[in-house]
């Protein structure tokens, strides 16, 4: 008797593989060739219905006269709406506001997100708590948080003015945050930053965790401090995610609507302040479409915004790649 003796398994008589029936073969081919497409189709169908169709339809409407308050005025307008756009002060003002708020929000937002992420990437007590915590602003409904901020930045009993008073900038007449461009932009950018820093930080964090530790160790041996490690190792290595967040915040920033809308003293006028000082393009589109009831012109503005976002997002993506040291 020997324990090591292994008995070979009795030779199994393998029945020759049945030649698969036609249906089975067809099913198999369907499975490999078509199912992937079928599975991904819902996205494209939804995109077609809710993405592509509105864009095309918007383009058609942009070339037509369509005024709700004047049903007799219909028909093709050609590029009339677009030429009107080029001379419309309100449009250029809104474009300036949108870019101003966009710069004030996106740049600090992404830089701070990077810092937060690199802090969260260290060993901390109650790590999960912190990581979930930074996401909380993102989970807050934007209308709710904006209403709170609108009170925070209110003229008469606002906390922002109270803080200013505490640090010695109290004024005889309280600062009316909505009255001037700089203060209203700052207030709106603050709301946007508050909401999105945590979200971007978590995206960065997940990318950072894929970076091997030994890269950092090697850098530390060579005498690179944390700051240098952040810029020379972390940022280049999470660059695809950085590009992604830059594009997303470009889109979000250029479409900014809720915050300026709810921040206004008189939101329903959609005028973005008494002198349009913080009226964004999305707000202007809404005003032209549903207040002035000029749907054709509003559609032309939408298309212009679409093209602007396309260009700016593209340029930003290129720039980010350069900064990240891609090539």
């Amino acid at each position: 008797m020997s324990l090591t003796q292994l008995r070979p398994a009795p030779p199994h008589d393998p029945s020759p593989p049945k030649s698969p029936g036609r249906i089975k073969l067809w099913l198999y081919r369907f499975d490999t060739k078509s199912v992937p497409y079928a599975l991904i189709a819902p996205f494209f169908i939804l995109f077609g219905v809710f993405g592509l169709f509105p864009i095309v339809f918007n383009g058609v409407v942009a070339l037509r006269n369509w005024r709700l308050d004047d049903p007799t005025l219909t028909g093709w307008a050609g590029f009339e709406n677009f030429t009107k756009l080029a001379q419309d002060e309100d449009f250029w003002n809104a474009l300036g506001n949108t870019f101003g708020i966009f710069l004030l929000s996106t740049i600090p937002q992404l830089l701070l997100a990077l810092l937060v992420a690199s802090i969260l990437n260290r060993k901390l007590r109650a790590m999960t708590w912190w990581r979930i915590g930074v996401l909380l602003p993102y989970l807050t409904p934007v209308v709710a948080s904006t209403l709170v901020f609108a009170v925070f930045f209110s003229r008469d009993y606002g906390m922002a003015n109270w803080f200013l008073g505490l640090v010695g900038f109290g004024q005889e007449t309280p600062l009316d945050w909505r009255a001037a461009k700089w203060s209203s932009w700052l207030a709106i950018a603050t709301m946007v930053n508050w909401k999105w820093i945590g979200y971007n930080a978590l995206l960065y964090l997940s990318a950072m965790q894929t970076i091997p530790k030994d890269v950092y160790e090697a850098a530390a041996v060579d005498g690179a401090g944390p700051w240098r490690q952040l810029w020379r190792i972390t940022v280049p290595m999470i660059q695809p995610v950085v590009v992604f967040t830059v594009i997303l915040s470009t889109i979000g920033g250029l479409q900014l609507f809720n915050e300026p809308m709810m921040f206004d003293e008189n939101p329903q006028s959609a005028s973005g302040g008494s002198d349009h000082q913080f009226q964004t393009i999305a707000q202007l589109i809404y005003k032209v479409g549903w207040k002035d009831l000029n749907l054709g012109y509003a559609a032309a503005m939408s298309w212009a915004l679409f093209l602007i976002i396309l260009i700016v997002a593209g340029v930003n993506a290129l720039l980010t790649k350069r900064i990240g040291g891609d090539r």
Binding site: P71, S154, A179, I251, Q255, S271, S274
Partner: protein
Amino acid sequence: MERLGKRSVRAIVVAAAATLAITGCSGQSLEGSGDKTDATGEQITLKVAFWGDMGLDKLKAAYEKDHPNVKIVLNSGEYNAQHEDLQKKLVAGNGAADISAVDEGFIVQFRSQADKFVNYLDKGGAEFEPKYLPWKWAQSLSPDGKQIGLGTDVGGLAMCYRSDLFKKAGLPTERDAVSKLWSSWDEFIEVGKTYTAKTGKKFVDSGTNMFNPVLAQQPVGFYNEQDQLQMEGGPKVAFDAAMKAINADISADLASFQPNWDQGFKKDQFAVLACPAWMLGHIQDTAPDQKGKWDIAAIPGGGGNWGGSWWTVPAQGKNTDAAVEFVKWMVQPAQQIEVFKTVGNLPSQPALYKDPAVLDYKKEFMSNAPTGQIFAATAENLKPQYLGKKNGPTRVAVENVIRRVQEGSLKPEAAWAEAIKEAEKASKA
């Protein structure tokens, strides 16, 4: 993926992401109008869209009791949002409520789309014409003679004031004595100066709430009957009054119907408020603890109308006949009086101004003021004003100029020229 190459994939991602740009701007989701037919084929649901409180709760119960096959769903929303929603549903072709309230500020916009509404004249509505104030009937009539709305209320103007704050400032508190203080708006501003000097508090809520009632009293508003902008007439008078109030430093500079304004009620930031009849319900809802502290006096400069609504039936509804029946029932005298008692909205049928139920009514919340008498008197003296197609946007544009003066970013001397410029822009938008 490999074949496409990294670059083009990124380009596609950028493109796809940017398409979110346009699609993100699309409007609200559509809702069904809630028409449900039971297995018996009898059950009808009527959805009624309006804003604030139009006193329909009791009416709904009474009507449903008499008509067991009708179920009424009340949908109260925000004033502007409801009108905008109606407009969107009219464009979409379905989803509108069976019955929609439309306010004076929007009636011109909707009457120019009269073919999208049920024409009451086709449904035997002509019998109502003699019952209404003639101008109320005419306002909802389309240029080609279709009647899209049956009137609910009118907004005859009075001046509400805080008798407790007046007492502290050493001003008279009796409504007749207060009315005598201000026969003109100049006197009104003088009273305001006295009040502000004594108490250190502001008198009116905002410059725009000087502008609007004064404008409402002018024979011609922003637009003449040919729909041409007329800034030098009524608007100039109203604008000057607003500037005077701002220069006198008696305005709290709050934007009406906004959170800061509501807070202003509670913090006694202003002591008077130009109030059409429907404003009483708003005061009552915003500051319920100020019961007995408010009273009503005459408004400087005589009558004037601010607001007031109609019930319309969008033609796209499935049960338009039942909807018309319900509206006809709602505008009957008994129901109109019921609404007046519940929320204070003043009926637009002059016969009711002689009705004892209206004349003898005293509003407990407003220090038992005889609101029936006060508002009935203002309504009969009304000088109706033509509101042009672009009245709403023009008003917003001029109000914004007043706000800029209040914010200090525009000098009062330069304001009128700016107001003309902005109004002209709005009239052409």
